[in-house]
């Protein structure tokens, strides 16, 4: 038994925000309430801290199989644990990609053997992520796939996307769309705007995202399937999803911490760690994303944790791969930039990291309800920490936030009833 004592319990699923104790027994939430008796339970003192359901990252690249030099399921889930995430969705753009049941089984088996937190695999939409033939969704779902995505590119042919959405209805799983019109974004390395003009880099216009979001919403409407739009980055996409939700289309969407915090103005020194896809857009887009979070248009915050080898990022800006890691920095940065600045309340932030992604995926995690699996994250919202890439659990170091001071930290994490992160240190 484990008693988490005296913390501010923030559990959006139960509209709870107040000081309470949380008792864990046999891997489940046994009770939540004031002054619970500890008895023989081990005590985790959470005084002055936030006690939240374990966070869910519905968009991470764990790179295994294929690029174990960049990340493995072991290191990626240890990074997740450090970051307060007890559930991580693994994107399928591995080598080979997760387009068959056997790759899904491999990921699941590795996660069971070496994973520090729960791993939910996402299957590719099309074989080889080539946008031509849809995968054997039935077999992949049976093997454990919770969603399908060709993340990294859009399914170019509308007909193929339509059939994928239709076919997915049999399994009631979401199709996660990376929305980018390849011809409009071709050769682009950053957001098309004033900064790309100053820097002399070919831009990717926001319209490259918007037109594809619009297309996929139309197809979701046509098919009645569940569409989840990955990493929204533009004001236009937010508005398209907002209108679609009003019409009753089954669409959900996510945003990354970096799109909420940074803008294209931050790129002026060609830091390749800021080269991400979709690109960091204008301050106006960033503000629209924040508005979208507030009014419920955006359901989830997801890291798009994208590890890359150091030598691949230490090159000319145009040649560097897209992506930054985020599992170990997401929560402190979000608290720093959105909660302490009163953009979001603690409840709103936790919602976007728990119930929001859980609902988008259709999974039961993300709550401290009695009887639920005991996945719990304890956050110290008033501690000064300097982000240090050399202390990361991740194999990769590609973050622009090294050396940045933040005033929040994940101190303790309970996964499936086991206290795996104690006072910031991983047990075992």
């Amino acid at each position: 038994m484990l008693l988490i004592k005296g913390g501010r319990v923030v559990d959006p699923a139960n509209n709870l925000d107040g000081v309470a104790d949380v008792l864990v027994k046999r891997g489940k939430i046994e009770a939540v309430g004031p002054n619970l008796k500890s008895g023989e339970a081990t005590v985790c003192d959470a005084t002055g801290k936030i006690v939240a359901p374990g966070l869910i990252d519905m968009h991470a690249h764990l790179r295994q199989p294929g690029r174990e030099d960049e990340e493995t399921i072991r290191t990626g889930t240890r990074a997740a644990l450090r970051g307060g995430f007890t559930t991580v969705c693994a994107m399928p753009n591995t080598e080979p990609c997760a387009d068959t049941a056997s790759v899904i089984q491999l990921v699941t088996a590795l996660a069971a053997a070496e994973g520090a937190v729960s791993v939910l695999p996402i299957g590719a939409i099309t074989k080889g992520r080539e946008g031509k033939e849809i995968v054997e969704m039935g077999e992949l779902v049976a093997a454990g796939a919770v969603a399908f995505s060709d993340d990294g590119t859009s399914v170019g042919a509308a007909e193929v996307m339509r059939r994928a959405l239709e076919y997915s209805r049999m399994f009631d799983v979401p199709i996660i769309a990376h929305c980018e019109d390849g011809s409009l974004a071709l050769g682009g390395t950053m957001h098309e705007g004033c900064s790309s003009t100053r820097m002399g880099l070919r831009g990717m216009p926001a319209a490259a995202e918007d037109v594809m979001v619009a297309r996929d919403i139309c197809l979701a409407e046509l098919t009645g399937a569940r569409l989840h739009v990955a990493h929204l980055s533009s004001a236009g996409s937010v508005e398209l999803v907002r209108q679609a939700k009003r019409r009753g289309v089954r669409v959900t969407c996510e945003v990354t911490p970096h799109h909420l915090i940074l803008s294209d103005c931050d790129l002026l020194f060609y830091d390749t760690n800021l080269k991400v896809n979709p690109p960091l857009r204008s301050a106006r887009d960033r503000d629209a994303l924040r508005d979208g979070l507030l009014d419920g248009t955006i359901d989830a915050i997801a890291t798009d944790h994208a590890p890359h080898a150091r030598h691949e990022k230490e090159v000319e800006f145009v040649d560097a791969p897209f992506g930054m890691i985020g599992l170990e920095t997401a929560l402190p940065l979000l608290v720093e930039h959105l909660v302490t600045t009163d953009v979001l309340s603690p409840t709103q932030l936790i919602e976007k990291l728990t119930t929001g992604p859980a609902a988008a995926l259709g999974i039961s995690a993300g709550t401290l309800s009695v009887g639920a699996v005991a996945d719990i994250t304890v956050i110290d919202p008033a501690v000064s920490v300097t982000i240090d890439v050399n202390a990361f659990e991740s194999c990769s170091r590609n973050t622009p936030f090294d050396g940045v001071r933040v005033s929040a930290a994940v101190t303790d994490v309970i996964v499936d009833g086991a206290w795996l992160l104690k006072d910031g240190e991983i047990e075992g």
């Binding site: 790309s196 003009t197 100053r198 002399g200 216009p205 060609y270 090159v315 145009v318």
Partner: protein, 317 residues
């Protein structure tokens, strides 16, 4: 102002108006060196300059090389492809290798925007950007400002039209920065498909109608059209480009009598400029080349010639 604030010259955007004026006035004193029988001053004797040209260039490399030689620096040229895949070595390793040879200045030309800054961060040597992708080509803009000043007396208050492929032009970016800082009015002229996003934010006006814009201009600055752009749906044909934006005798007749014509070279005669216009006296294109050497001497002197007490050009007398 007597010195530059940075160890490098990466772009005009980083320079203050005072720094630009310092370079131009220093170039003035170096221009005279070219008129001597012995075209050499000892200013950079014992200094090593590496010309790292990872993109084909003849005129800029030659201009830097001559500038170095007239300053008595030891200069070596390294050329090759930008692509590390073809070269078999990353830019980082190239930088570390050259750094180990203790150069004082590395002049770099590279196809990737931001590559000069990358080298500046990696190396103790002064980096001079001789063109990084579509980003900047600061010495070109400096020699252009120098040329305008020589022909028209000043830069402030003039109206300069830059015509052509603004989107892909480092010359346009550096010139816009330099000319606006020096107080000129700048209009960029070309089809919308060759205009980058938010170009007005750089403090310029935009015109799609060369015939209408030309009458106001004191300087008509033509950019080279990259012939391969045609295939990318940016303009339908060279013929139409030439008829809308090429400078020929008829169009030039709409300009002020005093207006000068400039081009960074190499020219596509018959495309952006007709042969007749290219050979007119008011086309000051070869002056630009001559002034390039003096301007680059000034830049090299200001970056690494410090500590000298005599005025730079006097030392050789």
């Amino acid at each position: 102002m007597t010195e530059l604030s940075s160890k490098d010259l990466l772009g005009i955007e980083d320079l203050s108006k005072g720094e630009i004026e310092l370079i131009l006035s220093t170039a003035e004193s170096f221009a005279e060196v070219a008129t001597r029988t012995i075209k050499k001053v000892p200013t950079l004797r014992g200094r090593t300059v590496v010309n790292l040209f990872l993109e084909p260039s003849t005129r800029t490399r030659t201009s830097f090389e001559l500038a170095c030689k007239r300053l008595s620096a030891d200069v070596i040229n390294i050329s090759g492809p930008s692509s590390s895949a073809v070269k078999g070595e990353s830019l980082k390793d190239t930088a570390k290798t050259i750094e180990a040879m203790h150069p004082d200045v590395v002049v770099v030309r590279h196809s990737a925007a931001g590559s000069a800054r990358m080298l500046a961060d990696l190396m103790a040597a002064s980096i001079v950007n001789a063109g990084d992708g579509s980003h900047e080509h600061p010495t070109q803009a400096l020699l252009d400002a120098f040329t305008i000043k020589k022909h028209l007396g000043c830069v402030a208050g003039l109206h300069v039209g830059i015509v052509g492929d603004i989107a892909h032009s480092r010359v346009a970016r550096s010139n816009i920065a330099a000319l606006t800082k020096l107080g000129a009015e700048v209009t960029v002229i070309g089809p919308p498909t060759l205009m980058p996003a938010c170009i007005e934010d750089l403090g310029v006006r935009v015109s799609y109608d060369f015939d209408r814009a030309i009458g106001d201009l004191d300087v008509i600055y033509l950019l080279r059209i990259q012939l391969e752009r045609q295939g990318r749906a940016l303009f339908p044909s060279l013929r139409e480009y030439s008829s809308l934006f090429g400078l020929n005798v008829r169009r030039l007749s709409l300009a002020k009598e005093s207006a000068i014509v400039m081009h960074p070279g190499p020219m596509n005669r018959g495309v952006e400029i007709s042969g007749e216009v290219a050979d007119m006296d008011r086309a000051v294109i070869t002056d630009q080349v001559a002034n390039g050497i003096a301007t680059r001497m000034a830049v090299l002197y200001l970056l690494v010639g410090g500590g000298e007490t005599e005025s730079a050009a006097d030392q050789g007398r």
